[in-house]
């Protein structure tokens, strides 16, 4: 039991899952301990706030636990886990929870309090406000949250989980060309959404 927890091998998730299948509940705890932050991070980046991300992660691990007897180590554990995350993302209730937690606001809306002076006549000449890093993060998170599925999951997996296009294709059940197209559309949508932040005079400190 302890071996599974302390020496997980090349694919720790797979090792822990197989140990869990044999009845080792400590292996499941180790698995959640290892992947928990990653799963919460996945939902955070997709737009969920802290509590919603934890709820969704809880749901993901519940599905992992329920799949105990059916699990077969035919692929990388993370590929299997990502499929679960994708299904949760597709689930209506989960998606609503996910999207409800963020809202996209134009940069100027963040800057102007109620009762602010009228904008200049030539609004394009006015410099865009410089956002704090937290504000910027919220803007970017909102842009990602607005993506339709499966664009959002594809982008999150490829950009943040270091999944190759082939791995994304396996996770989403698509062909590699379809994933390429999907990723480009996701990037294009994010670009359009974030375009107001791209003014040359704005330095976001990146």
């Amino acid at each position: 039991m302890q071996d599974a927890v302390e020496q997980p091998g090349s694919d720790p998730g797979q090792t822990w899952m197989l140990a869990f299948q044999r009845g080792d509940e400590a292996a499941f705890t180790a698995l959640v301990g290892h992947y928990g932050a990653q799963v919460i991070g996945f939902f955070r980046r997709g737009g969920a706030d802290g509590a919603a991300a934890e709820d969704l992660a809880q749901e993901a691990f519940l599905r992992v636990a329920r799949a105990r007897d059916r699990y077969e180590p035919t692929a990388k554990f993370t590929t299997w886990l990502h499929r679960i995350l994708f299904r949760i993302a597709l689930n209506d209730a989960a998606r609503n929870r996910w999207r409800r937690s963020v809202g996209f606001a134009a940069p100027r809306e963040l800057e102007e309090p109620a009762g602010a002076p009228e904008p200049l006549a030539d609004a394009t000449a006015a410099p865009l406000p410089v956002l704090t890093r937290d504000e910027l993060r919220e803007q970017v998170r909102a842009a990602v949250a607005e993506l339709p599925e499966p664009q959002r999951t594809a982008l999150l997996l490829h950009r943040f989980e270091e999944c190759s296009q082939e791995e994304v294709a396996t996770t989403l059940g698509l062909t590699v060309p379809a994933v390429k197209s999907l990723l480009f559309r996701a990037r294009d949508n994010v670009r359009k959404r974030l375009a107001p932040l791209f003014a040359d005079e704005v330095d976001h400190g990146l």
Binding site: E25, F28, T29, L31, V32, G33, G36, A37, Q38, I40, G41, R44, R45, E54, A57, Q58, F61, L62, V64, A65, R66, R68, R133, L136, R137, V140, R141, V144, R159, F160, Q165, K180, S181, L183, F184, R187, D188, V190, R191, L194, A195, L197, F198, H204, L206
Partner: protein, 181 residues
């Protein structure tokens, strides 16, 4: 390379999958064409901006242990656990590996009764609407002459006598005229 070709290869360019000659041509076009150059630059800025989400997520180990325990408990209780059931850590705030599952069987019964009532009401309503709509079917569909005229019009060429395209409204007008005749 022109703008159309640039947009065609843009996905591969962004994915770093473009061959050397196309890459050189695309870079050259992006330098010369302000619009395409800006689009490429915006794509790269957006990709870079996504990096702000690459923050480290720190979760207390205790919270993760609690999450695991709750998932295990719910998975075990699955056959009888309801959506409204709650799971309480048996050891209080300290959590622990064991949890107590609290179910609410009275609510379960009421939900089942309400669902059954809704199902019956929905079926009755749907059936009634269907019957009413069926009864309201236009009688001209039983008219052999009308059907024959309709088939005649359906097979008309798509252009009218003046060479304009016939649209649906034109066909309906013709149909009405023929019915009147």
């Amino acid at each position: 390379m022109d703008c159309d070709r640039f947009r065609e290869v843009l996905p591969e360019l962004l994915a770093n999958e473009l061959g050397a000659s196309d890459l050189a041509a695309a870079d050259d076009h992006a330098r010369r064409c302000a619009e395409c150059g800006r689009e490429l630059a915006d794509h790269r800025k957006a990709w870079q901006l996504l990096g702000v989400l690459d923050e480290e997520i720190v979760v207390a180990p205790e919270r993760l242990r609690q999450m695991a325990a709750q998932a295990l408990a719910r998975a075990v209780a699955e056959p009888t656990l309801e959506a409204g059931a709650s799971i309480e850590p048996a050891g209080g705030a300290a959590g622990g590996a064991t949890v107590r599952v609290v179910t609410h069987s009275r609510w379960r019964l009421w939900r089942q009764v309400a669902a059954a009532a809704l199902l019956v009401a929905g079926t009755a309503l749907t059936t009634r609407v269907w019957i009413e709509r069926r009864a309201a079917l236009p009688d001209f569909l039983d008219d052999a002459d009308f059907v024959q005229h309709f088939e005649l019009i359906r097979d008309l060429p798509e252009l009218d006598l003046e060479g304009d395209l016939l649209d649906v409204d034109d066909e309906l007008l013709l149909l009405n005229a023929m019915r009147g005749a």
